[in-house]
Point group: C2
Chain length 334, copies 2
Amino acid sequence: MPSEITAEAPSNIALIKYWGAEDLGAVVPCNPSLSMTLDRCRSVCSASFFEGDRRPDEILLERDGALAPAPESFSRRIAAHLVRLRTAWNRQGTLRIATRNTFPAEAGIASSASGFTALTLAVSRALGIELAPAELSNWSRRSGSGSASRSAFGGYVQWPAPGTADAASAAPVADAEHWPLCDLVAIVSSSSKEVSSLEGHQRAATSPYFRRRLELVPGRLDTVREAIAGRDFARLADAVDEEAIDLHLIMMSSRPPIFYWRPATVAVLAEVRRLRREGLAVCATMDAGPNVHVLCEPQCAADAEAALRRVEGVEEVLADRTGTGPVWRQGAEL
Amino acid sequence: MPSEITAEAPSNIALIKYWGAEDLGAVVPCNPSLSMTLDRCRSVCSASFFEGDRRPDEILLERDGALAPAPESFSRRIAAHLVRLRTAWNRQGTLRIATRNTFPAEAGIASSASGFTALTLAVSRALGIELAPAELSNWSRRSGSGSASRSAFGGYVQWPAPGTADAASAAPVADAEHWPLCDLVAIVSSSSKEVSSLEGHQRAATSPYFRRRLELVPGRLDTVREAIAGRDFARLADAVDEEAIDLHLIMMSSRPPIFYWRPATVAVLAEVRRLRREGLAVCATMDAGPNVHVLCEPQCAADAEAALRRVEGVEEVLADRTGTGPVWRQGAEL
């Protein structure tokens, strides 16, 4: 009988962005980042461990409701992570991994944060290893996805953990119940990115403005933390808006430049500014892609979502909110 | 009999931008700029001087083919300039000013550079003053429009004049015949700007990246000058693309931020990058507005113009090219 575990881990949206690495291989960032854990955008991963077995690992991904072997590039990163974990914990045997995301793959929401955290949690438990959340954060991050470090916790999460210079793991700064916010993801393009986040991290330091950005981040991070502590949306909104523009300024001034914005990205940003001028508690952020995450207080969500759906070029609006951390249970569900 | 003169002056498109003033009142820029003088985008100004007359000045602007009193804001700046010139040259009398632009007012092409240069030239001659081009540059600039300093010359023009720290006037760095290029102006919006250039100059230094930009400009200016000297389009294109993005990064990171891009701005920039990847000698620049100036070598102009017209959101493409400096003649034509 194999040891079978199913784990679920949340995606997250960064309010202060991880962009640029001191050491990309070791996943050590140039600056601290802070994210909000999401609720509905999750990865579910079942891991079955056949101890002593010498067959090759099986890595499956659910697409269109059916499990199938994962694409080459995806499967290579997972395989490397499985070797890393088994070696660290000194276990021999075969793993069967099956993963699905609760959000559409075409949504342009990074699935590596939730995916690698769910994988790391499921595999660790299947191998009989009990990881504290900070350890889960550290091992998930070592997959190569820095933002995975933040998906080990619910609520609002900072990486590296506040008060430490050690990039090993993230730590929560506030629970989800402290300040539930909505994240309306305006999907403007579902095609895959021309430049990967990994490539972007490598190019970040080629922007002549990157060093200046690094000087600005600590102050902005403090503002975001204070805004969260005081549930001060207006304060949060200014900092989040600035940070998102900053990230894309660095991308557009990298050598060669990286342009993620589509026409509808600009249209959504303009609509968010208009809604804010009209008194709605909304702000906008973007990751390394063209889609816009519109954060808002729950009482504004219906109005904001309706307005976003009217913007030309918006294909879909995914409504999510502040969520809790990963969970696991016995049994393989996939 | 009044003294009657008609002058014509060209608009210009900056390759290295004037953005941010050491002294906005005295029109002293924070950094040197360099532009290409345009050929078809011109202002025509007739000035009639009634010596000793004490009637108020008359300031007319042609719109939709008919002369009418100029709008308040426009007319106030012109009136102040007329007082400045008459006082400097110690003349008493009434001026009748009539101006038209050869390009549509809705095109979003700044008419202040060509307009104030044509006005200054027409008035100086009507008042019997003979200005050398550098003096015309200086007096036009003192209207408040820094870019007017560059419209006193044809070809490629630098302000402040190369090798001088004196912002009084611009000087040419190459004639129009040295390297004729095309400027295809992709009009994506004809509505007036939410934030004026004057306001933008004031906000420039509030961007945390402005000081860094000022460090970058001299090197980029040298590159542009060398590219012009050697007629090296690929070299020019990289520097012009970078400079245009830089300008808008400063705008978007000013406090409060200034967003000039429209959805179609992003679509045109993407199309220009695509054309360049396909081997066309094109690059893109933008002033303080959403329209995109696509510079190209003449042999690429037809293909580039056809491609730009196909971009969704492009209302019109104005085809212009490298032009010569201002001219004047006897008689009031307007």
